[in-house]
Amino acid sequence: MSGGGFGSYVRRAHLAGDLVVQPRMGMSDPALMRAGLLATKAAAGRTVGTVTLDSYTRVNDLESAGLALLEGVPLNGYPIVSHDLETTRRVLDGIHGPDFPVQVRHGSAAPLDIFRALLRVGLDASEGGPVSYCLPYGRIPLRESVRNWSRSCELFSRLRELGREPHLETFGGCMLGQLCPPSQLVAISALEALFFHQHGLRSISASYAQQTHREQDLEAVFALRRLCAELLPGTDWHVVVYAYMGVYPTTPHGALALLGEAAELAAATGSERLIVKTVAESVRIPTVAENVAALEHAAARAARTERVADGGGDSQTYAEAAALVSAVLNLDPDVGRAMLLAFQRGYLDIPYCLHPDNQGRTRSYLDGEGRLRWADIGRLPLAGVVEAGESRTVSSGELLGALSHIRWKYDDGAIAAGPGHALAGGAA
């Protein structure tokens, strides 16, 4: 595959035996953003840079983003559309290049302006997806999101005409952050990867976010790798693992232990990249130093981890994910239309997701071993694949318990291992 881009950097690192580690970092102040990128680049470990955009830019509220810049109000990310071209070029100058690619992260269901802005400053890597940046995240109808993402992918993939290799990562493996059973995360991530492929991308990564149970997560990442191999011929693809996206442990020891397990999950499955979380995650947006510490911790842990062989055969997670993918792809040869139809029919259905285009018939729960399972499959085409259980009513306390399970497990583990010190700087 052609050299120079984000995907080829990750490929080279993988061939050299390194897991690429990456922060989720974005500041509205250009000087801080540049300092964050420099610190990421200098961190011990094979890193790539991140420019995460702010929430106003994400929802296309450019007026509020612009106003905040004028008034000097700090935002929760870098407003790439509102900062002028020269400002962003200065942020990236001498940092971004073949030895340190930078990815723009946003979360927009209407990302065309964002893609235009990142192309103008010479960037060539981003992430998202028509489903994963729409359903959990806002009010834009899924149909519009599919249309917006089709246009954005087509614009972005034209970089190939210039001899560059644009890279897109699916966010589908992270739907809702937590409590979506792994098989559906894998299915949506694989389908979004195929969507990118149908719209011209040839350098793609598929995400999967660490969930609640180690063995189940291993199954899920192997299932995702197998589906990508099946669905993306002639494509330079890799898998990116996200450290847990749900309610995060509050103790430094608990937070680092959970991050370490994410690094182990990535390295053990032969995955190529990891998005880290920091010890500050539970209370506020982390500092640059906290991000660097997380990157270094994850890289060191990954370097000590042995590969695990895929057990072969169809795991439960693979069987469910493959059944979802094939049912969706049977609806229409165009994967965008197929995904729309799938949500209309309930063939894809995210538990607890409030979006009007999601049927909301499915429910999930944590079993006694901490595996994430289906409490109700709604109309998912999983009859015969998932054992039909009694559908359950979940109370607010039970939901909070399931949402907090990982925090309790790791914080309690941390407390048992010795008193941690309280994290300064945030509300307890």
Partner: protein, 176 residues
């Protein structure tokens, strides 16, 4: 305010206690025996905030306490909040935000609500992680109150308890 990234207002443990401290398995069926209140609460995420677990939790909690809930979901435009408030005349308006823009979003949202004479007396509260740097300053909390909120629940373990006390104090009928 109960939030995904907030210390849970319940006892720690592998099983899941309910809010009153009773213990139950994570998947046990429960039959909350709560009288209906004949009152609607509108739950809304901040205008720029995509988080939803906080909203899902609030909906379940409010329903268990007998309220009807209109959950407007994440990223609620101010006009939608005003329109839905006029249509439902809620007993309470709850804005919940965790993305760090809650302070700015929240002030704009309540400003537009309070511009309508019909909505001037509707009780309204906001809570969550309202800024990007952890706890709010006393000044920011005061500004949210000045802008029109009746209570602000800052990010903290005490949040849920004081929120429930407020819910208990609401009249058991529709406000008009």
């Amino acid at each position: 305010m109960p939030l995904p990234d907030e210390p849970a207002p319940v006892e720690r443990g592998e099983t899941v206690p309910d809010e009153r401290g009773g213990s139950g398995a994570a998947v046990a069926r429960k039959a909350p025996a709560v009288a209906k209140r004949d009152a609607t609460v509108i739950v809304a995420g901040g205008t720029s905030d995509s988080h939803t677990w906080n909203l899902v939790f609030l909906q379940l909690l409010l329903e268990e306490l007998g309220f009807d809930v209109v959950n407007l979901g994440p990223c609620v435009p101010t006009e939608l909040l005003v329109r839905e408030s006029l249509a439902h005349r809620p007993a309470l308006l709850v804005v919940s935000s965790v993305n760090g823009h809650g302070y700015q979003d929240g002030i704009r949202m309540i400003g537009k609500v309070r511009e309508r004479a019909e909505l001037r007396a509707v009780p309204a509260v906001i809570g969550g992680k309202l800024g990007i740097e952890g706890a709010q300053s006393a000044e920011q909390l005061a500004e949210l109150i000045a802008a029109g909120y009746d209570a602000v629940f800052d990010d903290g373990a005490e949040g849920i308890a004081s929120f429930q006390r407020l819910l208990d104090s609401l009249p058991q009928r529709v406000l008009t």
